[in-house]
Protein backbone atom coordinates (compact mmCIF):
# COMPACT_ATOMS: atom_id res chain seq x y z
CA UNK A 1 0.00 0.00 0.00
CA UNK A 2 1.33 3.40 -0.96
CA UNK A 3 1.87 6.02 1.69
CA UNK A 4 -0.92 8.58 1.78
CA UNK A 5 -0.14 12.29 1.93
CA UNK A 6 -2.39 15.23 2.76
CA UNK A 7 -2.85 15.79 -0.98
CA UNK A 8 -4.78 12.52 -1.14
CA UNK A 9 -7.52 14.04 1.01
CA UNK A 10 -10.02 16.82 0.61
CA UNK A 11 -11.07 18.86 3.64
CA UNK A 12 -14.77 19.64 3.97
CA UNK A 13 -15.91 22.30 6.43
CA UNK A 14 -19.30 23.70 7.37
CA UNK A 15 -19.82 26.49 9.89
CA UNK A 16 -22.57 27.36 12.33
CA UNK A 17 -22.50 30.98 13.39
CA UNK A 18 -24.60 32.24 16.27
CA UNK A 19 -25.44 35.93 16.20
CA UNK A 20 -27.00 37.75 19.14
CA UNK A 21 -29.35 40.54 18.14
CA UNK A 22 -28.97 43.81 19.99
CA UNK A 23 -32.68 44.34 20.55
CA UNK A 24 -33.57 46.29 23.69
CA UNK A 25 -35.30 43.28 25.26
CA UNK A 26 -35.03 39.51 25.14
CA UNK A 27 -36.76 37.39 22.51
CA UNK A 28 -39.71 36.16 24.58
CA UNK A 29 -39.92 38.50 27.60
CA UNK A 30 -39.41 42.16 28.50
CA UNK A 31 -36.14 41.72 30.40
CA UNK A 32 -33.36 44.00 29.25
CA UNK A 33 -31.04 42.39 26.70
CA UNK A 34 -27.80 43.59 28.27
CA UNK A 35 -24.25 42.36 28.60
CA UNK A 36 -22.03 42.61 31.66
CA UNK A 37 -24.72 43.11 34.32
CA UNK A 38 -24.55 41.56 37.79
CA UNK A 39 -25.50 37.86 37.53
CA UNK A 40 -29.21 37.07 37.54
CA UNK A 41 -30.42 40.67 37.52
CA UNK A 42 -31.93 40.63 33.99
CA UNK A 43 -34.25 37.72 34.63
CA UNK A 44 -37.97 37.23 35.12
CA UNK A 45 -40.34 34.29 35.57
CA UNK A 46 -40.49 33.77 31.77
CA UNK A 47 -36.74 33.49 31.09
CA UNK A 48 -36.20 31.57 34.33
CA UNK A 49 -38.69 29.03 32.99
CA UNK A 50 -41.01 29.16 35.98
CA UNK A 51 -44.19 27.11 35.64
CA UNK A 52 -47.25 28.91 34.30
CA UNK A 53 -45.36 31.57 32.34
CA UNK A 54 -45.81 32.13 28.62
CA UNK A 55 -43.35 33.45 26.01
CA UNK A 56 -44.40 36.23 23.61
CA UNK A 57 -42.27 36.96 20.54
CA UNK A 58 -40.43 40.29 20.33
CA UNK A 59 -41.39 41.86 16.98
CA UNK A 60 -38.01 43.59 16.69
CA UNK A 61 -36.20 40.27 16.99
CA UNK A 62 -38.30 38.82 14.17
CA UNK A 63 -37.64 41.89 11.99
CA UNK A 64 -33.88 41.63 12.65
CA UNK A 65 -33.99 37.95 11.74
CA UNK A 66 -35.83 38.59 8.47
CA UNK A 67 -33.41 41.41 7.63
CA UNK A 68 -30.43 39.13 8.28
CA UNK A 69 -31.93 36.29 6.26
CA UNK A 70 -32.55 38.65 3.33
CA UNK A 71 -29.02 40.06 3.52
CA UNK A 72 -27.75 36.48 3.22
CA UNK A 73 -29.87 36.01 0.12
CA UNK A 74 -32.12 33.47 1.84
CA UNK A 75 -35.67 32.63 0.85
CA UNK A 76 -37.78 33.88 3.75
CA UNK A 77 -40.51 31.46 4.78
CA UNK A 78 -43.96 33.02 4.80
CA UNK A 79 -45.03 30.48 7.44
CA UNK A 80 -42.83 30.50 10.53
CA UNK A 81 -43.21 28.44 13.66
CA UNK A 82 -41.19 27.59 16.73
CA UNK A 83 -40.27 24.19 18.10
CA UNK A 84 -38.98 22.81 21.36
CA UNK A 85 -35.52 21.33 21.36
CA UNK A 86 -35.43 19.16 24.46
CA UNK A 87 -32.32 18.58 26.48
CA UNK A 88 -31.30 18.70 30.09
CA UNK A 89 -28.51 21.08 30.81
CA UNK A 90 -28.41 23.69 33.57
CA UNK A 91 -27.96 26.59 31.15
CA UNK A 92 -31.56 26.01 30.06
CA UNK A 93 -33.90 26.41 33.00
CA UNK A 94 -36.93 25.05 31.13
CA UNK A 95 -35.30 21.77 30.09
CA UNK A 96 -35.83 22.79 26.46
CA UNK A 97 -34.78 25.56 24.15
CA UNK A 98 -37.32 27.36 21.99
CA UNK A 99 -35.84 27.08 18.52
CA UNK A 100 -37.00 26.38 14.99
CA UNK A 101 -36.97 22.99 13.33
CA UNK A 102 -38.79 22.56 10.03
CA UNK A 103 -39.89 26.13 9.24
CA UNK A 104 -36.89 28.37 9.91
CA UNK A 105 -36.93 32.10 9.10
CA UNK A 106 -34.79 31.63 5.99
CA UNK A 107 -33.19 28.93 3.87
CA UNK A 108 -31.11 28.39 0.74
CA UNK A 109 -29.14 31.62 0.76
CA UNK A 110 -25.53 32.38 -0.02
CA UNK A 111 -22.63 34.68 0.72
CA UNK A 112 -20.03 35.52 -1.92
CA UNK A 113 -16.49 35.67 -0.60
CA UNK A 114 -13.02 36.08 -2.07
CA UNK A 115 -10.66 33.11 -1.84
CA UNK A 116 -7.13 34.11 -2.91
CA UNK A 117 -8.70 36.98 -4.82
CA UNK A 118 -11.16 34.74 -6.66
CA UNK A 119 -14.89 34.91 -5.99
CA UNK A 120 -16.49 31.86 -4.39
CA UNK A 121 -20.13 31.39 -3.40
CA UNK A 122 -20.70 29.81 0.00
CA UNK A 123 -24.24 28.47 0.25
CA UNK A 124 -26.24 29.13 3.40
CA UNK A 125 -28.28 26.06 4.29
CA UNK A 126 -30.61 27.77 6.73
CA UNK A 127 -30.95 30.64 9.20
CA UNK A 128 -33.25 30.27 12.17
CA UNK A 129 -33.94 32.11 15.43
CA UNK A 130 -33.88 30.74 18.93
CA UNK A 131 -33.34 31.81 22.51
CA UNK A 132 -29.78 31.94 23.83
CA UNK A 133 -28.96 29.83 26.88
CA UNK A 134 -27.56 31.00 30.21
CA UNK A 135 -23.91 31.22 31.09
CA UNK A 136 -22.18 28.51 33.08
CA UNK A 137 -19.06 29.22 35.06
CA UNK A 138 -17.30 25.96 35.87
CA UNK A 139 -15.58 25.75 39.18
CA UNK A 140 -13.31 22.73 38.90
CA UNK A 141 -12.00 23.00 42.45
CA UNK A 142 -15.46 23.01 43.97
CA UNK A 143 -16.79 20.45 41.48
CA UNK A 144 -19.77 22.65 40.72
CA UNK A 145 -20.98 25.11 38.12
CA UNK A 146 -22.46 28.55 38.69
CA UNK A 147 -25.32 29.60 36.44
CA UNK A 148 -26.15 33.15 35.38
CA UNK A 149 -29.43 33.38 33.47
CA UNK A 150 -29.01 36.98 32.26
CA UNK A 151 -28.15 35.71 28.78
CA UNK A 152 -31.05 33.27 28.72
CA UNK A 153 -33.57 34.45 26.15
CA UNK A 154 -31.24 36.75 24.23
CA UNK A 155 -32.44 36.65 20.60
CA UNK A 156 -30.07 34.45 18.67
CA UNK A 157 -29.83 33.67 14.98
CA UNK A 158 -28.10 30.53 13.87
CA UNK A 159 -26.61 30.75 10.39
CA UNK A 160 -25.61 27.37 8.98
CA UNK A 161 -23.56 26.97 5.80
CA UNK A 162 -23.60 24.02 3.44
CA UNK A 163 -20.33 22.02 3.64
CA UNK A 164 -18.84 24.30 0.97
CA UNK A 165 -15.61 25.39 2.63
CA UNK A 166 -12.46 23.53 1.65
CA UNK A 167 -9.77 24.80 4.02
CA UNK A 168 -9.34 26.47 7.41
CA UNK A 169 -8.29 29.64 5.54
CA UNK A 170 -11.53 29.60 3.53
CA UNK A 171 -13.46 29.23 6.77
CA UNK A 172 -11.61 32.27 8.12
CA UNK A 173 -12.33 34.26 4.96
CA UNK A 174 -16.01 33.35 5.11
CA UNK A 175 -16.25 34.42 8.76
CA UNK A 176 -14.56 37.74 8.02
CA UNK A 177 -16.89 38.44 5.10
CA UNK A 178 -19.94 37.31 7.07
CA UNK A 179 -19.08 39.51 10.04
CA UNK A 180 -18.66 42.56 7.82
CA UNK A 181 -21.98 41.88 6.05
CA UNK A 182 -23.68 41.47 9.44
CA UNK A 183 -22.12 44.67 10.83
CA UNK A 184 -23.64 46.61 7.93
CA UNK A 185 -27.11 45.45 8.99
CA UNK A 186 -26.90 47.13 12.39
CA UNK A 187 -28.75 44.25 14.07
CA UNK A 188 -25.88 43.18 16.35
CA UNK A 189 -22.61 44.54 17.68
CA UNK A 190 -20.95 41.34 16.31
CA UNK A 191 -18.47 41.44 19.19
CA UNK A 192 -16.83 38.04 19.65
CA UNK A 193 -15.31 39.07 22.98
CA UNK A 194 -18.80 39.63 24.35
CA UNK A 195 -20.09 36.47 22.70
CA UNK A 196 -22.42 38.37 20.35
CA UNK A 197 -20.90 36.37 17.52
CA UNK A 198 -19.88 32.75 18.07
CA UNK A 199 -18.83 30.00 15.74
CA UNK A 200 -18.89 26.20 15.83
CA UNK A 201 -17.29 24.23 13.01
CA UNK A 202 -17.91 20.83 11.41
CA UNK A 203 -14.98 19.25 9.65
CA UNK A 204 -14.40 15.99 7.84
CA UNK A 205 -11.88 14.63 5.39
CA UNK A 206 -12.49 12.44 2.37
CA UNK A 207 -10.29 10.92 -0.28
CA UNK A 208 -9.74 13.29 -3.20
CA UNK A 209 -12.39 12.66 -5.84
CA UNK A 210 -14.84 11.11 -3.38
CA UNK A 211 -18.29 12.76 -3.39
CA UNK A 212 -19.72 11.26 -0.20
CA UNK A 213 -18.95 13.12 3.01
CA UNK A 214 -16.57 11.58 5.52
CA UNK A 215 -17.32 11.25 9.23
CA UNK A 216 -17.22 14.70 10.79
CA UNK A 217 -16.31 16.09 14.15
CA UNK A 218 -17.90 19.20 15.62
CA UNK A 219 -15.54 21.78 17.11
CA UNK A 220 -16.65 24.17 19.83
CA UNK A 221 -15.19 26.69 22.25
CA UNK A 222 -13.33 28.90 19.77
CA UNK A 223 -13.31 32.52 20.92
CA UNK A 224 -11.96 34.25 17.84
CA UNK A 225 -11.78 33.73 14.09
CA UNK A 226 -8.09 33.00 14.54
CA UNK A 227 -8.99 30.26 17.03
CA UNK A 228 -11.52 28.81 14.55
CA UNK A 229 -8.80 28.63 11.93
CA UNK A 230 -6.28 27.14 14.36
CA UNK A 231 -8.77 24.55 15.64
CA UNK A 232 -9.64 23.53 12.07
CA UNK A 233 -5.96 23.26 11.14
CA UNK A 234 -5.31 21.08 14.17
CA UNK A 235 -8.32 18.88 13.45
CA UNK A 236 -7.49 18.62 9.74
CA UNK A 237 -4.06 17.24 10.67
CA UNK A 238 -5.42 14.97 13.41
CA UNK A 239 -8.02 13.43 11.09
CA UNK A 240 -5.45 13.04 8.33
CA UNK A 241 -3.15 11.12 10.65
CA UNK A 242 -5.97 8.83 11.77
CA UNK A 243 -7.19 8.16 8.24
CA UNK A 244 -3.74 7.83 6.66
CA UNK A 245 -2.87 5.08 9.11
CA UNK A 246 -6.06 3.16 8.39
CA UNK A 247 -8.04 4.38 11.40
CA UNK A 248 -11.60 5.68 11.49
CA UNK A 249 -12.91 9.01 12.73
CA UNK A 250 -15.34 8.93 15.62
CA UNK A 251 -18.26 11.33 15.19
CA UNK A 252 -18.03 13.51 18.29
CA UNK A 253 -17.90 17.01 19.69
CA UNK A 254 -14.42 18.27 20.45
CA UNK A 255 -13.49 21.34 22.47
CA UNK A 256 -10.73 23.71 21.40
CA UNK A 257 -8.19 24.35 24.13
CA UNK A 258 -6.60 27.73 23.46
CA UNK A 259 -3.67 27.21 25.85
CA UNK A 260 -2.75 23.82 24.46
CA UNK A 261 -3.66 24.79 20.86
CA UNK A 262 -5.40 21.44 20.45
CA UNK A 263 -8.88 19.91 20.36
CA UNK A 264 -10.00 17.37 22.95
CA UNK A 265 -12.97 15.05 23.12
CA UNK A 266 -15.70 16.69 25.13
CA UNK A 267 -16.33 14.38 28.02
CA UNK A 268 -19.85 14.85 29.20
CA UNK A 269 -22.24 13.04 31.44
CA UNK A 270 -24.97 13.77 28.88
CA UNK A 271 -26.08 10.79 26.81
CA UNK A 272 -26.41 10.83 23.03
CA UNK A 273 -28.36 13.84 21.80
CA UNK A 274 -31.98 13.09 21.13
CA UNK A 275 -33.69 16.46 21.00
CA UNK A 276 -37.24 15.20 20.40
CA UNK A 277 -38.29 18.38 18.59
CA UNK A 278 -41.98 19.13 18.62
CA UNK A 279 -44.04 22.25 17.82
CA UNK A 280 -43.89 24.81 20.63
CA UNK A 281 -47.43 24.85 22.03
CA UNK A 282 -46.90 28.18 23.85
CA UNK A 283 -46.35 30.17 20.64
CA UNK A 284 -48.79 30.50 17.79
CA UNK A 285 -47.54 30.39 14.18
CA UNK A 286 -46.42 33.50 12.31
CA UNK A 287 -47.40 34.44 8.81
CA UNK A 288 -45.00 36.85 7.15
CA UNK A 289 -46.76 38.62 4.28
CA UNK A 290 -44.83 39.38 1.09
CA UNK A 291 -45.41 43.10 1.65
CA UNK A 292 -43.72 42.82 5.06
CA UNK A 293 -40.73 41.04 3.53
CA UNK A 294 -40.46 43.75 0.87
CA UNK A 295 -40.74 46.48 3.51
CA UNK A 296 -37.78 44.96 5.35
CA UNK A 297 -35.87 44.38 2.11
CA UNK A 298 -36.03 48.13 1.50
CA UNK A 299 -34.20 48.74 4.78
CA UNK A 300 -31.21 46.66 3.67
CA UNK A 301 -28.08 48.76 3.26
CA UNK A 302 -25.82 48.45 0.26
CA UNK A 303 -23.65 45.43 1.07
CA UNK A 304 -19.91 45.90 1.63
CA UNK A 305 -18.87 44.18 -1.61
CA UNK A 306 -21.19 46.35 -3.71
CA UNK A 307 -20.04 49.45 -1.84
CA UNK A 308 -16.40 48.54 -2.46
CA UNK A 309 -17.03 48.20 -6.18
CA UNK A 310 -19.02 51.43 -6.32
CA UNK A 311 -16.42 53.51 -4.44
CA UNK A 312 -13.86 52.43 -7.02
CA UNK A 313 -16.18 53.23 -9.90
CA UNK A 314 -17.66 56.51 -8.62
CA UNK A 315 -14.60 58.03 -6.96
CA UNK A 316 -11.71 56.34 -8.72
CA UNK A 317 -10.43 54.78 -5.50
CA UNK A 318 -7.96 51.93 -5.74
CA UNK A 319 -9.12 48.45 -4.78
CA UNK A 320 -6.84 48.69 -1.74
CA UNK A 321 -8.23 52.04 -0.53
CA UNK A 322 -11.85 51.05 -1.15
CA UNK A 323 -11.39 47.72 0.65
CA UNK A 324 -10.07 49.47 3.75
CA UNK A 325 -12.72 52.17 3.76
CA UNK A 326 -15.64 49.71 3.51
CA UNK A 327 -14.43 47.77 6.56
CA UNK A 328 -16.55 50.21 8.56
CA UNK A 329 -19.88 51.24 7.12
CA UNK A 330 -19.80 54.56 8.96
CA UNK A 331 -16.31 55.32 7.71
CA UNK A 332 -17.50 54.67 4.15
CA UNK A 333 -20.43 57.03 4.72
CA UNK A 334 -18.01 59.63 6.11
CA UNK A 335 -15.77 59.27 3.08
CA UNK A 336 -18.71 59.82 0.74
CA UNK A 337 -19.80 62.94 2.62
CA UNK A 338 -16.26 64.30 2.34
CA UNK A 339 -15.95 63.40 -1.31
CA UNK A 340 -19.04 65.49 -2.06
CA UNK A 341 -17.30 68.56 -0.58
CA UNK A 342 -13.92 68.16 -2.19
CA UNK A 343 -12.23 67.62 -5.50
CA UNK A 344 -9.17 66.12 -3.82
CA UNK A 345 -10.64 62.66 -3.39
CA UNK A 346 -7.38 60.73 -3.36
CA UNK A 347 -5.97 63.03 -0.65
CA UNK A 348 -9.16 62.66 1.40
CA UNK A 349 -8.89 58.87 1.10
CA UNK A 350 -5.24 59.00 2.21
CA UNK A 351 -6.10 61.09 5.24
CA UNK A 352 -8.95 58.74 6.16
CA UNK A 353 -6.88 55.58 5.78
CA UNK A 354 -3.85 57.15 7.45
CA UNK A 355 -4.22 59.66 10.29
CA UNK A 356 -7.99 59.34 10.86
CA UNK A 357 -8.03 55.52 10.98
CA UNK A 358 -5.04 55.56 13.32
CA UNK A 359 -6.83 57.90 15.72
CA UNK A 360 -9.99 55.76 15.54
CA UNK A 361 -8.02 52.60 16.26
CA UNK A 362 -6.23 54.23 19.20
CA UNK A 363 -9.61 55.24 20.60
CA UNK A 364 -11.20 51.88 19.72
CA UNK A 365 -14.19 53.64 18.26
CA UNK A 366 -15.95 54.35 14.99
CA UNK A 367 -16.18 57.72 13.29
CA UNK A 368 -19.90 57.71 14.11
CA UNK A 369 -19.05 57.92 17.83
CA UNK A 370 -17.15 61.19 17.34
CA UNK A 371 -18.34 64.60 16.34
CA UNK A 372 -15.96 65.12 13.43
CA UNK A 373 -17.73 67.01 10.66
CA UNK A 374 -16.94 66.03 7.05
CA UNK A 375 -16.69 69.70 5.96
CA UNK A 376 -14.08 70.44 8.62
CA UNK A 377 -12.11 67.31 7.71
CA UNK A 378 -12.13 68.33 4.06
CA UNK A 379 -10.98 71.84 4.94
CA UNK A 380 -8.16 70.44 7.07
CA UNK A 381 -6.92 68.15 4.29
CA UNK A 382 -7.05 70.99 1.78
CA UNK A 383 -5.11 73.33 4.09
CA UNK A 384 -2.36 70.75 4.36
CA UNK A 385 -2.39 70.11 0.62
CA UNK A 386 -2.16 73.83 -0.15
CA UNK A 387 0.79 74.18 2.16
CA UNK A 388 -1.05 76.40 4.66
CA UNK A 389 -0.46 73.77 7.32
CA UNK A 390 2.35 71.30 7.86
CA UNK A 391 1.48 67.62 7.93
CA UNK A 392 2.28 67.49 11.61
CA UNK A 393 0.19 70.55 12.49
CA UNK A 394 -2.65 69.03 10.42
CA UNK A 395 -2.55 65.89 12.53
CA UNK A 396 -2.61 67.95 15.74
CA UNK A 397 -5.65 69.85 14.54
CA UNK A 398 -7.34 66.58 13.56
CA UNK A 399 -6.98 65.31 17.13
CA UNK A 400 -8.55 68.49 18.51
CA UNK A 401 -11.41 68.23 16.01
CA UNK A 402 -12.04 64.63 17.08
CA UNK A 403 -12.21 65.66 20.69
CA UNK A 404 -14.33 68.77 20.26
CA UNK A 405 -16.82 68.95 17.39
CA UNK A 406 -17.64 72.61 18.09
CA UNK A 407 -14.15 73.73 16.99
CA UNK A 408 -13.41 74.72 13.41
CA UNK A 409 -10.18 74.35 11.48
CA UNK A 410 -9.91 78.13 10.99
CA UNK A 411 -10.26 78.82 14.74
CA UNK A 412 -7.68 76.23 15.61
CA UNK A 413 -5.13 77.48 13.11
CA UNK A 414 -5.53 81.02 14.37
CA UNK A 415 -5.38 80.11 18.05
CA UNK A 416 -2.43 77.81 17.83
CA UNK A 417 -0.36 79.84 15.39
CA UNK A 418 0.17 76.62 13.52
CA UNK A 419 -0.40 78.30 10.20
CA UNK A 420 2.46 77.30 7.94
CA UNK A 421 4.74 80.00 6.66
CA UNK A 422 4.84 80.04 2.88
CA UNK A 423 6.00 83.61 2.51
CA UNK A 424 8.87 83.32 0.02
CA UNK A 425 10.88 86.32 1.24
CA UNK A 426 10.76 85.15 4.86
CA UNK A 427 11.67 81.58 3.97
CA UNK A 428 14.53 82.75 1.77
CA UNK A 429 16.02 84.81 4.57
CA UNK A 430 15.72 81.83 6.94
CA UNK A 431 17.44 79.61 4.37
CA UNK A 432 20.23 82.12 3.82
CA UNK A 433 20.87 82.46 7.53
CA UNK A 434 21.01 78.70 7.90
CA UNK A 435 23.52 78.35 5.08
CA UNK A 436 25.69 81.07 6.60
CA UNK A 437 25.67 79.45 10.04
CA UNK A 438 26.61 76.07 8.62
CA UNK A 439 29.19 77.11 6.03
CA UNK A 440 31.26 73.99 6.83
CA UNK A 441 28.34 71.74 5.86
CA UNK A 442 27.83 73.73 2.67
CA UNK A 443 31.45 73.09 1.76
CA UNK A 444 31.01 69.36 2.44
CA UNK A 445 27.98 69.29 0.16
CA UNK A 446 29.82 71.12 -2.60
CA UNK A 447 32.55 68.48 -2.27
CA UNK A 448 29.96 65.80 -3.03
CA UNK A 449 28.41 64.86 0.33
CA UNK A 450 24.81 65.37 -0.89
CA UNK A 451 23.41 63.46 2.08
CA UNK A 452 24.01 66.53 4.28
CA UNK A 453 21.32 68.56 2.45
CA UNK A 454 18.73 67.00 4.75
CA UNK A 455 20.60 68.36 7.76
CA UNK A 456 20.38 71.91 6.41
CA UNK A 457 16.66 71.56 5.69
CA UNK A 458 16.17 70.32 9.23
CA UNK A 459 18.08 73.28 10.67
CA UNK A 460 16.06 75.75 8.58
CA UNK A 461 12.79 74.14 9.71
CA UNK A 462 13.97 74.46 13.29
CA UNK A 463 14.74 78.11 12.73
CA UNK A 464 11.19 78.63 11.43
CA UNK A 465 9.92 77.02 14.65
CA UNK A 466 8.43 74.20 12.61
CA UNK A 467 6.10 76.53 10.74
CA UNK A 468 8.04 76.76 7.51
CA UNK A 469 6.56 75.00 4.50
CA UNK A 470 9.07 72.14 4.26
CA UNK A 471 8.71 71.75 0.53
CA UNK A 472 9.46 75.42 -0.10
CA UNK A 473 12.42 75.41 2.29
CA UNK A 474 13.82 72.37 0.53
CA UNK A 475 13.40 74.03 -2.89
CA UNK A 476 15.10 77.24 -1.75
CA UNK A 477 18.06 75.45 -0.14
CA UNK A 478 18.60 73.24 -3.16
CA UNK A 479 18.41 76.24 -5.47
CA UNK A 480 20.96 78.10 -3.37
CA UNK A 481 23.33 75.13 -3.22
CA UNK A 482 23.20 73.82 -6.75
CA UNK A 483 21.96 76.55 -9.11
CA UNK A 484 23.53 79.65 -7.66
Amino acid sequence: MSILTQKDFETVIGLEVHLQFSTRTKIFCGCENAFGKEPNTCVCPVCLGLPGTLPVLNKSALDSAIKTALALNCTVNSYIKFDRKNYYYPDLPKGYQISQFDFPIGHDGYLDILVNGNPKRIRIHRAHIEEDAGKLIHDNAEGCSLVDYNRTGTPLMEIVTEPDLRSPQEAYDYLTALKLALQYLDVSDCDMEKGSLRCDANISLRRAGETRLGTKTELKNMNSFKAVKAALEFEEMRQFRVLATGGTIVQETRLWNEDKQATFTMRTKEEAHDYRYFPEPDLVPFIVEDAEIERIRLTLPENPQAKCQRLQKDYGLSDYDATIIVQDRHLADFFEHCAKHSGKIKKIANWIIGPLLKELKDRRCSVKDLSLKPEQFVLLVEKVENGDLSNLAGKDILITLLEDGSKTVEDLIEKSGLSQVSDDALLESIADETLKEHADVVTQIKNGNHGAVGFLIGQAMKKSQGKGNPKKIKDIIQRRLFNA
Binding site: T25, G30, P39
Partner: protein, 95 residues
Amino acid sequence: MITNTDLQYISALARMSLAEEELKPMAEDLSSILDYIAQLQKLDVTDIKPTSHVLPLKNVYRDDSIKPSLTQEKALSFAISKAKGAFKVPQIVDN
Protein backbone atom coordinates in the same frame (compact mmCIF):
# COMPACT_ATOMS: atom_id res chain seq x y z
CA MET B 1 -45.07 -3.60 22.89
CA ILE B 2 -42.47 -1.26 24.23
CA THR B 3 -39.27 -2.99 25.37
CA ASN B 4 -37.40 -2.51 28.61
CA THR B 5 -34.50 -1.00 26.65
CA ASP B 6 -36.88 1.60 25.18
CA LEU B 7 -38.18 2.34 28.65
CA GLN B 8 -34.76 2.78 30.14
CA TYR B 9 -33.79 5.13 27.31
CA ILE B 10 -36.96 7.23 27.68
CA SER B 11 -36.67 7.39 31.46
CA ALA B 12 -33.04 8.47 31.18
CA LEU B 13 -34.01 11.29 28.79
CA ALA B 14 -36.76 12.36 31.20
CA ARG B 15 -34.39 12.09 34.21
CA MET B 16 -36.81 9.67 35.89
CA SER B 17 -35.68 6.50 37.54
CA LEU B 18 -38.07 3.58 37.32
CA ALA B 19 -38.07 0.79 39.88
CA GLU B 20 -38.12 -2.79 38.61
CA GLU B 21 -41.81 -3.25 39.52
CA GLU B 22 -42.76 -0.03 37.70
CA LEU B 23 -41.39 -1.22 34.36
CA LYS B 24 -44.23 -3.52 33.35
CA PRO B 25 -47.18 -1.20 34.07
CA MET B 26 -45.32 1.73 32.48
CA ALA B 27 -44.61 -0.32 29.35
CA GLU B 28 -48.30 -1.23 29.13
CA ASP B 29 -49.43 2.39 29.52
CA LEU B 30 -47.02 3.73 26.92
CA SER B 31 -47.87 0.89 24.53
CA SER B 32 -51.56 1.68 24.69
CA ILE B 33 -50.78 5.32 23.85
CA LEU B 34 -48.67 4.20 20.89
CA ASP B 35 -51.46 1.87 19.77
CA TYR B 36 -53.84 4.81 19.76
CA ILE B 37 -51.39 6.87 17.68
CA ALA B 38 -51.09 3.91 15.32
CA GLN B 39 -54.87 4.01 14.85
CA LEU B 40 -54.70 7.73 14.02
CA GLN B 41 -51.95 7.09 11.52
CA LYS B 42 -54.29 4.85 9.54
CA LEU B 43 -56.56 7.82 8.78
CA ASP B 44 -56.44 9.40 5.33
CA VAL B 45 -55.27 12.98 5.91
CA THR B 46 -54.28 13.77 2.32
CA ASP B 47 -56.34 16.97 2.12
CA ILE B 48 -55.83 18.11 5.67
CA LYS B 49 -53.24 20.81 6.39
CA PRO B 50 -50.76 19.99 9.18
CA THR B 51 -51.72 21.73 12.40
CA SER B 52 -48.96 22.91 14.70
CA HIS B 53 -51.28 24.81 16.98
CA VAL B 54 -54.90 24.30 17.98
CA LEU B 55 -55.79 27.96 18.56
CA PRO B 56 -57.00 29.97 15.54
CA LEU B 57 -54.41 32.66 16.28
CA LYS B 58 -51.35 33.92 14.44
CA ASN B 59 -48.76 36.70 14.70
CA VAL B 60 -48.97 37.40 18.42
CA TYR B 61 -46.14 39.85 19.08
CA ARG B 62 -44.73 41.98 21.84
CA ASP B 63 -43.18 45.44 21.42
CA ASP B 64 -39.47 45.73 22.14
CA SER B 65 -39.92 47.68 25.36
CA ILE B 66 -38.19 46.92 28.63
CA LYS B 67 -40.17 45.60 31.60
CA PRO B 68 -38.74 45.43 35.11
CA SER B 69 -36.80 42.26 35.93
CA LEU B 70 -36.66 40.46 39.25
CA THR B 71 -34.01 41.43 41.76
CA GLN B 72 -31.13 39.00 42.13
CA GLU B 73 -32.32 38.14 45.63
CA LYS B 74 -35.83 37.36 44.40
CA ALA B 75 -34.54 35.41 41.39
CA LEU B 76 -32.38 33.22 43.62
CA SER B 77 -34.97 32.88 46.37
CA PHE B 78 -36.14 29.47 45.19
CA ALA B 79 -32.66 28.10 44.36
CA ILE B 80 -31.72 24.92 46.21
CA SER B 81 -28.10 26.01 46.19
CA LYS B 82 -26.53 29.36 45.31
CA ALA B 83 -23.21 31.19 45.39
CA LYS B 84 -21.82 34.52 44.14
CA GLY B 85 -25.19 35.70 42.87
CA ALA B 86 -25.60 32.58 40.78
CA PHE B 87 -27.49 29.29 40.86
CA LYS B 88 -25.14 26.53 41.95
CA VAL B 89 -25.44 23.20 40.17
CA PRO B 90 -23.39 20.00 39.96
CA GLN B 91 -20.65 20.21 37.37
CA ILE B 92 -21.59 18.69 34.02
CA VAL B 93 -18.58 19.00 31.72
CA ASP B 94 -15.15 17.79 32.85
CA ASN B 95 -12.55 20.15 31.54
